[in-house]
């Protein structure tokens, strides 16, 4: 099941040129771009691992593309996203975030029902991938 988080996730995967154009747009708006990766695709998982530092003073998107290439080399079997932060209000706030790399196979989620007192049912979603320990999911 293809997960849809962040911008553009209902579109077909962006090509590298399209990613570069989006990143350049962010940089031209003076947003700091950075890369994050994870192998826990739960939608409530907002804290992904950072790949290096946010890139504050690189005027060209080629810098991020170089890091993305490196990141794919190491974590090509996980989710990787580009995050663009805007610091102009005085704090860093996310302006744009989109997935640029996904695992070859995305097994999707299981719905778990917990039966409580009376006829009450609690629902929770669990990624099938999370059954395996971190680092060994997807591949």
């Amino acid at each position: 099941m293809r997960i849809t988080q962040g911008a553009f996730s209902f579109l077909p995967d962006l090509t590298d040129d399209q990613i570069r154009a989006q990143v350049q747009y962010c940089i031209d708006n003076k947003w700091a771009v950075s890369l994050e990766f994870t192998d826990d695709p739960h939608p409530r998982n907002t804290y992904w691992d950072m790949w290096g530092h946010p890139m504050f003073d690189n005027p060209d998107a080629a810098a991020l593309m170089m890091e993305l290439k490196e990141c794919r080399k190491v974590y090509g079997d996980r989710y990787i996203r580009v995050v663009a932060f805007d610091a102009s209000p005085g704090w860093e706030s996310v302006k744009l975030s989109f997935i640029v790399n996904r695992p070859a196979e995305e097994p999707g989620y299981r719905l778990e029902r917990q039966e409580g007192a009376g006829r009450m049912v609690r629902y929770t979603t669990k990624p099938y991938a999370a059954d395996k320990p971190a680092g060994t999911r997807y591949g």
Partner: protein
Amino acid sequence: MSAAAEATPEALPPELPTAIDLREEFETSGVKDVLEELDRDLIGLAPVKKRIRETAALLLVERARRRMGLAHDTPTLHMSFTGNPGTGKTTVALRMADLLHRLGYIRKGHLVSVTRDDLVGQYIGHTAPKTKEILKKAMGGVLFIDEAYYLYRPENERDYGQEAIEILLQVMENQRDDLVVILAGYSQRMDRFFESNPGFRSRIAHHIDFPDYTDGELFRIAETMLGNQNYHLDRPAAEALTAYITKRREQPHFANARSIRNALDRARLRQANRLFETANGPLDAAALSTISAEDITASRVFSMKPRDKDGD
């Protein structure tokens, strides 16, 4: 994005122009302005200007060929600027970045000027991230490495400079679209550097040698520098400066225009002192902006034997 491609089939492939007017390209691309500025602002350096003109012509033709679909690869644009200190290497590098930007070979046109300290780390594992950080900053523009030969220290085989060189070479080869590297330094030491690092020599297409300025050129440079700061020399001062330039050249550590700039800074200091100590009454603008002979002849250069010590 196949759907988008199908929606506008006439957009692909792009129309190839059948003829290109080089003269018009030369004027509309802004290359003409850069070259004219170069001619106007930089005194002397005739061989350098000629090389830049030739390079600009080559790049212009290459761009035209690319538009007509005759060439596809980005030409190698990495350069080396060799010459003595103070001969304008950094200034020309700035203009070169502008030129390449106007021709569309680099996307942003900024210049990142670094030395060994910015690239090489202090402990194991520090160098690669440091070099990469600089490379990322320079992407879309020009990376200017001053005194590049310090990167290579043959006397210390564990020197981290080698690591920086390897990363540089890799990026210079694989990301030619993304940045242009200019190495700069003294001619002889650069030659030795290239001999021991053949990888660099083969990846650098343009070697530009910066000659020393003649005495007359240095004098004109001095006049321009003073003019920009609203100072001027009176006649005896001009003669003193001419004599100073000849004498200064014989002293060690002569750094062409940079020596002249330092000499002028000191002359301004002496002029200020002279005005402060001798003036009794209000001074007019002419007095405040005139450098006279005694401000220059007070220099140690005149009292020293040639080939003695540093002439500062």
